[in-house]
């Protein structure tokens, strides 16, 4: 594992690491090093900030190792690895990750020693926990990646039992696809939209804002989820082009699309319901939920309309974005947008099967 993951990593990043070494040890004297380490070991916030910086390095190592694992050259080694028990797999991968982490581990130990001298035990513990996490979280991730590369490893007993009993509903196909194969874009989009919705709802009370503020927040949150709409369209037309041969009427097709989009944005709806600031106004809440869903459906249809042309998409996207925000500022009610987006989506869906 060290040969497969750690050595190629050091070889590929040799120049960068030497540069960091020269900067760190070429300009500073020993006393200055100790002073910096003492400062970090004594200040928890600064230590957390430093760890955030280290995380950049760790993210880079994880992406690099993932690329190595999925390389066809390493397929043979991975097939050998999965023959061993899970404990041994974890041990080998952990050692490889530890080797990759070594430059930061050494420096963190240096800070920890200063912390011990000054008896900042909480910060020493923090460094220890951090070093454990940055070994085991990547290892769990690598094991998942290996599962994806080796098909035989990718069938769980529970999954097999479910598959024998039931067939997966059509509405779940796309959400499961995103969870299995695109978890990072899914997670990022959820974090971003969740952050925007919560921030908007929290800010609502800080000034004399009205419903327009909430509408803009929800619109932006769902608009930024357009990556999901894009992936959904790709899934339907490229991964499963045979779906275009399925004899479904306009309403059936639209319903299926809406259900899939609803399921993939379920966390956003839960956040909206949980943090909803206008207590008791149920009809308004319902309108906002439909507003989010219709926005995403409109984006999905817009992408089909312009035939995946990304240049056109960004131009159209931006125009729609600005136009809708201006209209909201002019107090155009949310239900008007819902009607508009639904009508547009139905119209495109109607043309879709007829190649108009």
């Amino acid at each position: 594992m060290v040969k497969m993951l750690a050595l190629p990593f050091y070889r590929a990043h040799a120049v960068f690491l030497v540069l960091v070494y020269l900067i760190a040890f070429g300009f500073l004297r020993n006393t200055e090093h100790i002073a910096i380490a003492t400062y970090f070991s004594a200040n928890t916030y600064m230590l957390l900030l430093l760890m955030l910086l280290w995380l950049v390095y760790y993210v880079r190592t994880v992406f690099y190792c993932r690329a190595l694992i999925t390389q066809s050259d390493n397929f043979y080694w991975l097939q050998q690895l999965v023959l061993f028990g899970r404990l041994r797999q974890v041990a080998w991968l952990s050692f490889a990750q530890f080797t990759i982490n070594l430059p930061i581990v050494i420096y963190s130990i240096f800070i920890a020693v200063q912390g011990m001298i000054l008896k900042h035990w909480d910060n020493v513990l923090l460094i220890f926990i951090f070093n454990i996490i940055v070994i085991f979280v990547p290892v769990i991730f690598y094991l998942r990646v290996i599962k994806g590369v080796i098909p035989e490893e990718n069938v769980s007993k529970l999954g097999n039992w479910f598959a024998l009993k039931w067939a997966k509903s059509r509405a779940l196909w796309f959400p499961l696809y995103m969870l299995h194969y695109k978890p990072l874009p899914l997670l990022m989009s959820k974090l971003l939209s969740g952050f925007i919705i919560i921030t908007t709802f929290q800010l609502y009370f800080t000034d004399a804002y009205d419903w327009r503020f909430l509408a803009i927040g929800i619109f932006i949150a769902f608009y930024l989820s357009s990556i999901l709409a894009y992936n959904y369209l790709q899934f339907e037309t490229e991964q499963m082009s045979i779906l275009l041969n399925v004899p479904l009427g306009l309403l059936q097709r639209s319903f299926q699309q809406l259900i899939s989009l609803f399921l993939i944005t379920l966390p956003e709806y839960l956040i909206i319901v949980h943090y909803w600031p206008l207590e008791g106004n149920f009809m308004f809440l319902l309108q906002f939920l439909f507003f989010g869903l219709s926005t995403l459906w409109m984006l999905h249809q817009l992408m089909w309309h312009i035939n995946f042309n990304l240049k056109k998409l960004s131009a159209h996207d931006f125009l729609v974005f600005v136009f809708v925000i201006i209209l909201i500022l002019f107090s155009v009610p949310v239900f008007v947008f819902i009607m508009l987006f639904f009508t547009y989506s139905l119209w495109i869906n109607f043309r879709w099967y007829r190649f108009l």
Partner: protein
């Protein structure tokens, strides 16, 4: 009867295929042509997967005017079927059978004919190319399709499956289905009673003797 009028398909400025007028009555038709000649493009157009200019109709239903009724009658399988790796054949059968109104009995018969019962519940990522091919073929026979488009149906499948497939085509044909078969395999292996052969060359479709 399959009726194709003023059909044209281009990718960018490159004309792939042009059919001025083609009418095919009940039968089994062999479509030949070099790689990239436009066989799959034609099949995908008829199946409603790929846009085109012109008109395609079957049994009085026009693909552009009655898209749902048309698709009920037309089934298609790709030369190298690709399915989302997290789904299983069972998931697709379940969904397609509902959409194409296939009976439980027909599903069971097809599962047995293609001998997929042992792995149909497993995800596609565990399938070999032959298993994927059989999956695509099985789905192409589901429902009451009157026009079945088979793109290279005899490649990558085992001898037993080949024999079963030939018999299935003959049986469905007897029950009124029209077949378009694109294949590079010699008819010695397929043993199909072709009504006519066509060759696609230089973006045109020619009748072969």
């Amino acid at each position: 009867m399959l009726n194709i009028q003023s059909y044209q398909k281009s990718y960018g400025h490159h004309l792939v295929l042009e059919i001025k007028n083609l009418q095919l009555s009940h039968g089994i038709y062999w479509i030949k042509g070099e790689n990239g000649s436009g066989k799959s493009t034609l099949f995908k157009s008829i199946a409603g997967i790929l846009s085109f200019s012109g008109s395609i109709s079957f049994a009085s239903f026009n693909l552009k005017k009655q898209p749902v009724a048309f698709r009920k009658l037309v089934n298609y399988t790709e030369a190298e079927p690709q399915f989302p790796l997290h789904l299983s054949l069972k998931d697709l059968i379940h969904y397609m059978a509902k959409a194409k109104k296939a009976s439980k009995l027909q599903q069971e018969e097809l599962i047995e004919t293609f001998a997929v019962q042992h792995y149909m519940h497993q995800p596609f990522r565990t399938y070999s190319s032959g298993m994927l091919k059989k999956s695509g073929l099985l789905l192409a026979f589901l429902g009451f399709a009157q026009l079945i488009l088979l793109d290279e149906p005899f490649i990558t499948i085992d001898q037993n499956a080949m024999m079963n497939l030939t018999q299935l085509i003959i049986d469905y044909h007897k029950n009124g289905s029209l077949f378009l078969v694109a294949s590079h395999v010699e008819n010695k292996e397929m043993q199909l009673p072709f009504s006519q052969k066509f060759l696609i060359k230089d973006a045109q479709m020619h009748e072969e003797d």
